[in-house]
Symmetry: C2
Subunit: 681 residues, 2 copies
Amino acid sequence: MTRSPKGPDDRRVDPLLEVREKRRGKRPGDAYVRIVRPFEDAFQRGGDEGELIATERTVLGRPGWTRFLRKLRTFLIGRPIHSEREEHERLTKVKGLAIFSSDNISSSAYGPEEIMRVLALAGTGALTLTLPLAGLISVMLAIVTLSYRQTIKAYPKGASSYIVASDNLGSGAGVLAAAALLIGYVVTVAVSVSAGVAALTSIVPELYEPRVLVGSAMVAFLMVGNLRGIRESGTIFMIPTYAYIVVMLGIIGYGIVRTLAGDVAQFEAPAAWEGVEQGGQALGLFLILRAFSQGAVALTGVEAISDGVPAFKPPEWKNARTTLTWAAIVFAILFLGIAYLLTTIGIQHDPFQQQTVLSLLVRHLTGDGAVLVIAQVSTALILILAANTSFADFPRLSSFLARDGFLPRQFAFRGERLAFTTGIVALSLMAIGLLFGFKASVSGLIPLYTLGVFLAFTLSQAGMLTRWWRRREPGWRAGLAINGLGTLTTAVVALVVGGSNFFAGSWLVIVLVPLLMLLLMAINRHYRDMDNALALDRIPDTGEVAPQPIVIVPISRLDRPARQAIAFANSISREAVAVHVTNDPAEADAMRERWPAWAGSTELVVVESPYRALIGPLLAYMDALQRQAPDRPILVVLAEFVPRHWWENLLHNQTALRLKLRLFARRNTIVADVPYHAPRS
Amino acid sequence: MTRSPKGPDDRRVDPLLEVREKRRGKRPGDAYVRIVRPFEDAFQRGGDEGELIATERTVLGRPGWTRFLRKLRTFLIGRPIHSEREEHERLTKVKGLAIFSSDNISSSAYGPEEIMRVLALAGTGALTLTLPLAGLISVMLAIVTLSYRQTIKAYPKGASSYIVASDNLGSGAGVLAAAALLIGYVVTVAVSVSAGVAALTSIVPELYEPRVLVGSAMVAFLMVGNLRGIRESGTIFMIPTYAYIVVMLGIIGYGIVRTLAGDVAQFEAPAAWEGVEQGGQALGLFLILRAFSQGAVALTGVEAISDGVPAFKPPEWKNARTTLTWAAIVFAILFLGIAYLLTTIGIQHDPFQQQTVLSLLVRHLTGDGAVLVIAQVSTALILILAANTSFADFPRLSSFLARDGFLPRQFAFRGERLAFTTGIVALSLMAIGLLFGFKASVSGLIPLYTLGVFLAFTLSQAGMLTRWWRRREPGWRAGLAINGLGTLTTAVVALVVGGSNFFAGSWLVIVLVPLLMLLLMAINRHYRDMDNALALDRIPDTGEVAPQPIVIVPISRLDRPARQAIAFANSISREAVAVHVTNDPAEADAMRERWPAWAGSTELVVVESPYRALIGPLLAYMDALQRQAPDRPILVVLAEFVPRHWWENLLHNQTALRLKLRLFARRNTIVADVPYHAPRS
């Protein structure tokens, strides 16, 4: 410790860091020169008094052990971005369709297959129901689209189910919708990535075995990309969606022409598939409902456009709802077209899940050539883009929730790249967890998916119903009718999905959504309680001076760290006392003997601990001091040794750590850590 | 925070906690009465000035969240024991034999089986070699015993290989022996417990499946017992050893009489064993050496008595070596007797490891009756007792090592029950790890066991050689010859064991022992470096006053915790400054506006952070302050919120935690935590 015999305490430090220069004396020899330029390039002066503005250097240029982490971070996600540089570019309808409807449109890649997988349980003959069910789902989509067109108009600043339900049905319904949506977003990532991997494994079978790892790598890629703060408006994001639409429309057109011409052979299942799955179930209502449920996943993409309304060019709501309509039409054409071809040609699904039915269809029509590769790659790309929509929606929704005190505040904090770091990382980890838990199986994940989303839909639609009824604005009757039909449809679908898939997985959602809702409410209650308890808004400063603390310095031996701690204690209190707890009376005698020469006038109290405990006697001693002066806090000054290497911490400070944990729980107690840094040798 | 308008700072607190009573004024109305009895029953006054002695109440009676843990601890291991109550009862030879030689004698329960298991690889015919090998091992034991009789005489205060090797061959050899012994003790526990479990599963086959858990439960039982501070001298510990000796001698005698009389049928292996193991290996030298190695495990118990010399009644060394001789004789009789009967009757080992050969022998001689149960139970008990010797030796050796700075200091600390808590817990965890890793298989564990122990033997014997040579005391030539033979024997056995079992597991020891040795040396070097760097022995107090710290209080909002922290900062410094880092200029303006009414005259510095980072700008600000006054430390006062429930910590203090981690690494920085306890609602 550096000590100045003159006592520098009279030189006050200027907290506003003025640049100053002082000279005393004339000749260089006896001159006392202090040139302080503390600003350097770390701060600029703000306009108001007492205001400093940090520069990028305060974030990037820190020395020390975090430098490596910083470099890694900069490599992965780039340099920090200034708050003012937030993007405000708006989307045209063409771009909006590409970006927000990828979730919706990409469902056509796996929707028909999921219907067929259930129907096949009643034998291949039942597969003829695929097309009618696809038609029914398209009708549902039309109803939901019509309903959401109204929602978008009513909430041009973002029509998330959380907002619509909170606004009209109260905070409880909003939180319920939010819980359902949060789970839905996580499953969206897992489902889309799994389907994307399946599209790839259809042409590269070697990827089937490590499919969970391939999917996790995709999620990690999306995570890093989103932590960088991907600009959603980038033109590059248009490519997968339009490529998929064009390729699929082409294949469907080609397929329809050829089937109408009658020159497409019927599909024949390979001999190896024979008897792998039992087709012996009866084709009852339950099976049809389950098939419908699996297919209803196709509707889940509607929420994405509603969330993103403010991102469109003005008039936002008009552009958004036109885009929504277009997305629904494109989806319906692809979905029905694929379903038509599948049933006409009689394609069956691969019981080994090595190939998707879409790849079987394309291969059947065009063979093992370039078209197949293009179709599968564009399918995989749009599916990854669909997963990416959740990477925009989940962090945004969780930031709303954090802002309203339903999630820890970290979720509302924008990271260095203006992205909601905590939300992005949480989403990625949970999605990877699902991939591992469900072995990247689309069929296994879908029962988790649809129910949550339809629950949110229903709450949002019911919110709109209430809104029409309360406001009775012009045209409210028509609006009421449309949203009423929407509410009914989505509620029925939710019930069908929940019921028919109960044992297949939707029970998990039925358990998780209320639990998550309770968690969100508990967090909210906690924050509200604490805000009430801690708020000081109305209490003015009384000018009273707080009582000075009683200062004690527990020391274990006479060494440099101990002396540094005692010096600090003496610098802030005239009555600091060193306390030595020991189980060895002889050692205590030795210490007492050397004490005066070592520590000067500072008082030493030796507490003998014949039960060898350290913390108990120290706390009891503090209690006794406290009883003498109940109104003064006790400041415990701890000497801590900072070793050169992190692993050396295992050899030091174990007791200090335990002591701090106990002191943290003690009222009226302040702990000061005085670190002694190991000398560099 | 309680504030007294009169400022109580002038009432000095008495650090020695005198009971005092002050009265001012005469009438009760205006009397200022302060009766302080801070002692209550927590402390007694010590003889010297400034000395307090803690009572048991300081350990037991603490209020707070640790009370439950304390109750659990008291239930499991009992109330704390006063240092003065350490047991000093000495052992007679009869008790010493029971307690220290259980490790040695119990080896006879599994030693013959391990020899047979290897020999059987060359077909059942090779089993006839069991008896000759047992004879060879008995000769080895005689040599080692003779050798160790000298070591015990030379080191009456404890003849641990660590001490003998350190003393004569230098600290490096000592640490090498210690590393080998530490590993040996861990394996002793695992082997003995595994063999104990095998003795039980022979009569209760249902325990075979969960044998790892049964073994782990035994280790946990030993751990709790030793944490309670088992008195090694308890008569109860005599029972298993003598019961085993008596039962086995009886069975051997009975068996020999009956086989000599010719009325014992040859053993016939059950049909199910047929062809389970290949017996096709040639009976070469390598196989015989391996069989010998497996059997050499029987010698490993010698170290236990040597370690325990000081526990015997005086003359300690005489009693100890007599006991050692008796232990060797008893062991040899049992070992040879069992081997004789096994080969004569032609018992084979169970390839399914469901029954030990000892239980097969007893069953063959006496049937499925009470004798079998008694034999197996007494075998299991002596094996558990054998494991218990390691629970005495490992913590003791590790406390020696910790005292000499080769292990973290916690290993030298005696817990509330005077046991070396850290060593006991570490041993238990590692032994349970081995049980899981080797599925409680004696055969799998033994290759790890023998090598380490023989390495330590060799070093100890070599140390004795050096000692004779250097001192040339009377009789040194005979001593040299005996210990020379001992060194040679143990070295050869170590080489044979290491070589023949290399791929069976001893490679692990060959890797681990040097690694552990390097670790011990590294820890020692670290402690020595630090002691040199931190020692203050020669530096007297200069009476200088350390410079006062620069005090800053980072605050995130205007709430009660923040104000409490500012009040503390003001109570120890006249120039404390509050620092608010924010990324929201509007919020900063609002805070600045309310500041004067809220905080009075304390200065507020607002640091705007347009990159939204908190820690970087704060550290940069501290750097700038530091540049103005390089010789003053910076005290960072942190307001911390102490929630009512531990899980609520997840919603608070995350940033404070990260900040503290960074501040810990900054030089010249002191961190004070001012906890604000959540009000009980």
